[in-house]
């Protein structure tokens, strides 16, 4: 299949790829360009691929209508905490399941894997009641604690375990003979070697937290607590209809930073996510 293609086939292939690319790339283009169109042009016919006149006030309105800076900060710090927390919890658990012999290890691993089988939507009702009793509704605690310790981190643990199993054990055994304790071996030898797996875990955990939608709308009720996905849908007029250009401006501000990081580090992203088979 990897044979050199004839020039004719190459042209055909490029054409086909470009057509297929439209629904993948055009929406992002349309989001960015429409966000600076005045409201009168936003549904203009024929569609304007480039704005004919610019209205930059959409961006200032994003910040006027809602505490957008606060909401941005909420999403960012929650995603950062969840990412770091998940890396710690999953690398430790993954290492133990891969390397350390302890009683009931297999049985416990099976119980932990149950977390993969149970979509978080199944447990959302009791989780809401538990956090309500603990006085943590309308705080960020549920969005931080559940992903780090609950079902979402199980997948990360599984990825880390698979990685450690594939890692040669000799270095660690030599360190053990030298009298190093388990924690030191993990910290000084195994963990530095696990950087690629940790990078994958970091990427998919960050994206998962950044995109979370059901949990925020269940747990949070005041605008200054909202996370970005929830905030984006709140730019509506008096009749509940979306204010399109402002929504698109806020969406652009939400999507572009991650997109730029992705383009810079695309190899890391693609390979990191491919190695783990993230659920979609």
């Amino acid at each position: 299949m990897k044979a050199e293609l004839s020039p004719r086939r190459q042209v055909f292939l490029y054409g086909l790829l470009c057509i297929l690319l439209i629904p993948f790339v055009f929406p992002t283009w349309w989001m960015v360009t429409s966000s600076v169109k005045p409201i009168s042009d936003i549904f203009a016919f024929p569609p304007q691929l480039l704005p004919e006149s610019y209205d930059w006030t959409t961006y200032s309105k994003v910040f006027e209508l809602q505490p957008f800076v606060k909401q941005y900060w909420n999403s960012a710090y929650i995603a950062a905490l969840v990412t770091i927390g998940t890396m710690v919890v999953s690398s430790m658990a993954g290492y133990a399941f891969a390397r350390i012999k302890f009683p009931f290890a297999n049985a416990i691993f099976m119980v932990v894997l149950l977390g993969l089988l149970i979509p978080s939507e199944v447990t959302i009702v009791p989780l809401f009641q538990m956090f309500l009793k603990a006085g943590m509704v309308n705080t960020h605690w549920p969005l931080i604690l559940v992903p780090i310790f609950g079902a979402p981190s199980v997948f990360a643990t599984f990825v880390m375990r698979q990685f450690f199993i594939a890692l040669p054990v000799e270095l660690e055994e030599a360190a053990r003979v030298d009298g190093l304790g388990r924690f030191k071996i993990f910290r000084k030898i195994a963990l530095p070697l696990a950087r690629p797996a940790l990078a994958s875990v970091a990427i998919f955990t960050f994206l998962h937290s950044w995109n979370l939608y059901l949990e925020p709308i269940v747990f949070l009720s005041s605008a200054d607590k909202f996370t970005l996905p929830q905030a984006l849908t709140q730019y509506t007029d008096a009749y509940g209809g979306p204010m399109w250009n402002i929504q698109l401006a806020a969406a652009t501000l939400t999507a572009l930073p991650v997109l730029i990081v992705f383009i810079i580090a695309q190899k890391q992203f693609v390979e990191g996510l491919a190695h783990t088979g993230l659920k979609g």
């Binding site: 089988l117 199944v122 399109w244």
Partner: protein
């Protein structure tokens, strides 16, 4: 650990040997998994028991009553006149999503597996929606799919009067499927691409010498060899499709009528909009059973369908 060792030491060798390598390892193992195990107990196992317990109760939030009603909520499942359309919508959505997602992913992977200059740029671009914020992606598609939106604008240039995509039953369902597929198909594409690159080139060369046409090579060599990946991606995609919530909430709110009200969205409405926590819990149990049965069934299929396992 250190404390125990110090107090044990004066009594001589025999008792300090309590902390053998095996015992220390056991302790270390438990300490390492403790955060995850406590988390799973607190946030998965206990909620799972609770959701079952709730499903046996009538829970009135306003009157603050919580009364045991046995299987009444399960009886209600059978009598709920909305449920058949909800399950129908869920089945259509999941089936449509999996079929469209996997075939598009495979097509893109085959195209990207060709020797062509600049192919990684295409790979990056096809993958890019995966990292675009989900709700941002959904909002811009919602914008494009308006009656006077971008898609109908383009259609009108060609003289076609497009439908009001999100307000008509059939097109609304197609829209939510398509929006979700374009968002995440890049992941499956990358998995397929990795699998395709793992197929040994000699097999194709042998087939070419035997004069097998390209399509036959694909059916007889490629498909069987990548069948483990097809199985894996189909499990991931089906289970993922049952969890789709944000797209429905933003694009159609389950409408028009109940045509795009999938099970998760219905569960959310019952529990958190109408405050029927008991019945919502029963629906949660149903979702759990469906996911478990599907996962188990697909895992069983592995033995029959998957030709080769690495």
């Amino acid at each position: 650990m250190a404390v125990v060792q110090q107090t044990a030491r004066p009594e001589g060798r025999s008792s300090s040997s309590f902390w053998t390598v095996a015992r220390r390892d056991s302790l270390a193992g438990f300490l390492f998994i403790a955060p995850q195990l406590i988390g799973i107990t607190l946030f998965v196992l206990i909620p799972l028991c609770l959701v079952f317990w709730y499903s046996l109760h009538e829970w009135n939030v306003l009157a603050n009553t919580f009364t045991y009603t046995g299987l009444a909520n399960y009886q209600m499942l059978l009598e709920d006149t909305s449920l058949p359309s909800v399950l129908g919508a869920t089945a259509i959505f999941s089936a449509g999503l999996v079929i469209f997602n996997l075939s598009l992913a495979l097509l893109l992977a085959v195209l990207l597996n060709q020797k062509l200059a600049g192919i990684t740029i295409f790979r990056t671009l096809f993958f890019s929606p995966v990292v675009v914020s989900l709700v941002a992606w959904t909002i811009v598609w919602g914008f494009l799919l308006q009656k006077n939106g971008g898609i109908n604008g383009v259609l009108l240039v060609f003289g076609i009067d497009g439908p009001n995509w999100l307000r008509e039953p059939v097109t609304a369902m197609i829209s939510v499927i398509v929006v979700q597929v374009f968002k995440n198909v890049g992941l499956n594409m990358i998995l397929f691409l990795a699998a395709l690159q793992g197929v040994p080139n000699e097999l194709y060369e042998a087939a070419r010498i035997d004069g097998a046409p390209r399509f036959k090579q694909f059916r007889r060599i490629t498909l069987p060899l990548i069948s483990p990946t097809i199985l894996l991606t189909s499990i991931i995609t089906i289970v993922g499709s049952l969890q789709v919530f944000a797209q429905i909430a933003v694009l159609t709110q389950g409408g028009p009528g109940l045509t795009t009200t999938v099970l998760v969205y219905y569960l959310y409405q019952q529990a958190f909009q109408f405050h029927f926590f008991g019945y919502g819990s029963t629906l949660s149990i149903m979702l759990f059973v469906i996911v478990a049965v599907l996962t188990f069934a697909q895992w069983q299929m592995r033995k029959r369908i998957v030709f080769y396992e690495s």
